[in-house]
Symmetry: C2
């Protein structure tokens, strides 16, 4: 798909999702917000959901828990159906992505006793790497780090080679991100999961930069375990709780290493020993953060209303426009593209790279364009389809072009 | 202290904290809410704090994180000073009580290699017991369960006997609740911690039912580690994040088993290996739930404004009135007192027991009195000093007396 004739305005006029921007709070219409993949915008529905939840707290007090006790499962069911291609009862909203990754990784390792290798990607998101490091140190395991192409991301061949670097039956767990947080490269979830299974390992996917922007089909892909973030494309709010997925057939086999009262069968009987609830509920731990869950619930429904396929189509168009403008406007100023050129291999953000990216990012923000800096040299443009206009892409890259052009004669720092 | 002449009204008129009730949302003035220790009421300040946080999300978007990144530490500092008797830099707001208990228990066990016994109380709060069971199973450790008096709670002698049941240097960790969730019995934190230290073990306290209602002095008592809940007497909101305390001298020695990016030094450099931040920050894991933290911040300031000593004095007076009314009104109907008679050994709730407590609790709620049922036979009356009037105690126990009296001729179930 090439965008050569249409202007951004024409694309916005033809955009079937354009109306969704009106469902969000836009305090500053002039702001070019290209960071919906770090913190998604506040929807009117999320604001109303949080306000209603606070009102229920004040008015119903403890009695409001009658409607909250199964909320993490109900919202999980919606994420399952709307975003992940799996079934109700396989997803629950809980804790943070990091805590969930820890729990599922430990559970997977416990389920593969005697295997002492974890395979992951050297370029994986920091929290994923750090949590795995901690687990490996505690259990005296080996992490087999895959070195990946920084733009194209992890390939099935990389994973196959990691298995071949030792005995395949040493590997307990393969854990990777479905969409790379820097490059937006999309992994082949199905092919890599199949490789893991061939060796008898389990596959745990971090969906944080994919969920709500890329259609996922965890059932088709045979995925065992997954975690993901809700404050990016699901617009759940700052620090909104994460979700986790455990394939139904594994739910009884795996053990949650953090046994909490919200995962207990007959929780309020407060019985003498831990007796995990049936199904996905056993993956709850402590009291769920209800204000946060309310925001997530609202966010998922907006994705449902728009439809994940329409969201994906717009993400492809937005990132394609960004790459076109990159070629025309930024490449001549010494930028390199930090994301795949093939749109089918790219999530909903685009990274452009230049050595002075940190200073350029500060300058962009001072000029009303908000992207993310990603060390060492990346400016990451998050193009969240429900709220980003094609005109935002154009305005943001135009501003960057002007700043970059001025840098030879003056400092871009602000 | 005995209340024999004053009526509840007189006590309310003389109550120096009475004005704090006006700082809370009271939708139904007729409701007798005796469950502020399960879910504390919504304060006007907390509502405003959450509303302002939602507005900052919508308006400032990712830039609001400049003010949020250190919020878990700043609110932790206030909890440290206002409620716990420890210093800034020793407390942080994070995750749930259960997740924090897990992390600190694992860290403590790692710091006492070769010792394979955990000492705790058979009557400890369920999530504490469940999380310890899980850890013990995973690490092949022994839990030495203390059998305690159901009313007077755990005594130093109980702990001493637990040590004497084997070799004292087998014990790695003693973990107990400072205030019992059923009886409100207060443990002697200092004496029990000293016993742990004599044997070379670490002491980890769950402060959930104490914090914000009982003055704590963890420094004086030499406490190593603690966790606690913010949605009870701190009125932080449903599922608001918990806190954890790590004594400063232990902060570098202990290792957080869940290594996340929010505990990383230079977090946004996203470096190749985990390098924990200095101080208490390394005990953060994933992205903090900001809406919840905002509620906690507001709640702690109300406690600070009222003063923990004034709160404690009122808690003593409230529970003393409850015991007086119990003796006069409930004992004759076959109830027993499930809490210590000595006010200095009692937190801010009172439990009354009768075999039909479950049905009586339902009947109370149907009549506008909201306590908690605690299996098998307890009605728990939470008397949160900032929001509970002496008249509430009187009205609640009067209603219970009438329901209990009627039960011989008709069912109390509703």
């Amino acid at each position: 798909m090439a965008i050569t004739v249409d202007t951004a305005r024409t694309l916005d006029e033809a955009d079937p999702l354009a109306r969704f921007r009106d469902r969000f709070v836009i305090d500053d219409p002039a702001l070019v917000y290209l960071d919906g993949n770090s913190l998604g915008r506040l929807s009117l529905d999320a604001r109303e959901a949080v306000t209603a939840t606070v009102a229920a707290w004040g008015g119903e007090l403890i009695r409001a828990w009658d409607g909250w006790l199964d909320l993490p499962e109900r919202v999980g069911d919606r994420i399952a159906e709307v975003c992940l291609g799996v079934h109700p009862g396989e997803v629950v909203v809980a804790d943070s992505t990091t805590v969930n990754l820890y729990r599922l990784a430990v559970a997977a390792l416990d389920a593969r006793p005697g295997r002492r290798v974890i395979v992951t990607d050297r370029a994986n998101f920091p929290t994923d790497r750090y949590v795995l490091e901690g687990i490996a140190a505690a259990r005296d395991l080996e992490i087999r780090w895959i070195e990946t192409d920084p733009i194209e991301g992890v390939q099935p061949g990389d994973v196959a080679r990691a298995f071949e670097a030792g005995r395949p039956d040493e590997v307990a767990l393969v854990t990777l991100s479905a969409v790379d947080y820097r490059s937006a490269a999309m992994a082949d979830v199905g092919a890599i999961t199949a490789l893991a299974h061939e060796a008898g390992a389990l596959a745990l996917w971090d969906l944080s930069h994919a969920v709500g922007s890329v259609p996922l089909d965890l059932e088709r892909d045979g995925v065992d375990l997954a975690v993901g973030c809700t404050y990016k494309y699901l617009n759940g709010g700052p620090g909104a709780p994460a979700f986790l997925y455990v394939r139904r057939e594994l739910q009884d086999e795996l053990r949650n290493p953090i046994q909490g009262w919200f995962g207990q069968r007959d929780q309020f009987e407060m019985g003498p020993t831990y007796d995990p609830a049936p199904g996905i509920r056993r993956w709850l731990v402590g009291t769920p953060p209800i204000l946060g869950v309310a925001g997530v619930a609202a966010g998922v429904e907006l994705v449902a209303e728009a439809g994940i396929d329409a969201i994906r189509a717009k993400a492809v168009a937005l990132t394609t426009l960004a790459v076109e403008r990159f070629d025309a406007w930024l490449a001549p100023h010494g930028f390199s593209l930090g994301s795949p050129r093939n749109a089918s291999r790219r999530g909903a953000h685009v990274t452009v790279r230049r050595a002075d990216a940190r200073a350029l990012t500060s300058a962009l923000i001072a000029h009303g364009v908000v992207p993310d800096f990603r060390a060492p040299d990346g400016i990451r443009l998050g193009l969240s389809p429900l709220t980003t206009r094609f005109a935002d892409v154009e305005a943001g890259l135009d501003r960057l072009r002007r700043l970059a052009a001025s840098v030879s004669t003056s400092s871009v720092s602000t």
